[in-house]
Symmetry: C2
Subunit: 159 residues, 2 copies
Amino acid sequence: MELCRIGRVRSAHTSQQGTPIQPVFGEHADRAQLEIDAPFREALADLSGFGRIWVLTWLDRAPPFRPRVVPHRDTVERGLFATRAPCRPSPLGLSCVELLAVDAESGLLELGATDLLDGTPVLDIKPYLPGVDAFPDARAGWFGASLEEGRRADDRFNQ
Amino acid sequence: MELCRIGRVRSAHTSQQGTPIQPVFGEHADRAQLEIDAPFREALADLSGFGRIWVLTWLDRAPPFRPRVVPHRDTVERGLFATRAPCRPSPLGLSCVELLAVDAESGLLELGATDLLDGTPVLDIKPYLPGVDAFPDARAGWFGASLEEGRRADDRFNQ
């Protein structure tokens, strides 16, 4: 299982503390770019028609796997797979971000707010398909009760 | 960037031909299970409160990277990153599936319909969070015009 880096993130954030915990909680200053490497730029064709993309990343500064964590927006321990915390067995990041502009020639993608650190390796880009990906009424476990609090990360997963 | 397999898929599908092209296009016979390996079962705690999960997989039978493909539901070539075709630089699968039951002790997850082949390595499970993941009105490029056709895969990406 050999991963291939297709590019990297350019963002204003260099440590997890203070980054949005999800793109949807970010603001204008949390906007980011993706720099896609030359061999993969042809594959960006047709992407500009999509309003949102999935950015799959390698969370290169994530702490080691921990089976239980106290997630952001909660005060008790939860199973890691019931959270979006970064300390996963395979530290794969999954971010749903607004796609503002695509320059396929230079490989530069302008994004809305992200939850990603500067320099994070990008592994894949997929188009966001509402008919396939959007389930507004899905039951959201412990997270469902906490949606009005906590928009920025602290340093809890590095403790 | 070293991936860690946390388990594998159990499904009725052994080749891509005839599998749903996305979980949402599947039926009862496309239901699947995940078998999670013992070291990772503790991390399944609290997951049963969620109606849907993201299953991130290693598409071990995907063809090599191709920058352009004619995707399912279309008749012309598109940039690979504007499609969900499996022949990606990093063959990472992203499936939004219904979570029907969790047995954390045995590591068995009962899922709704999936688009996954039997034996596919599972890399990560994340809870589906509607407030973070659901954007029903996102602009869907070429895919937006084609949502009423084609629910099952053919053999096109192996040609």
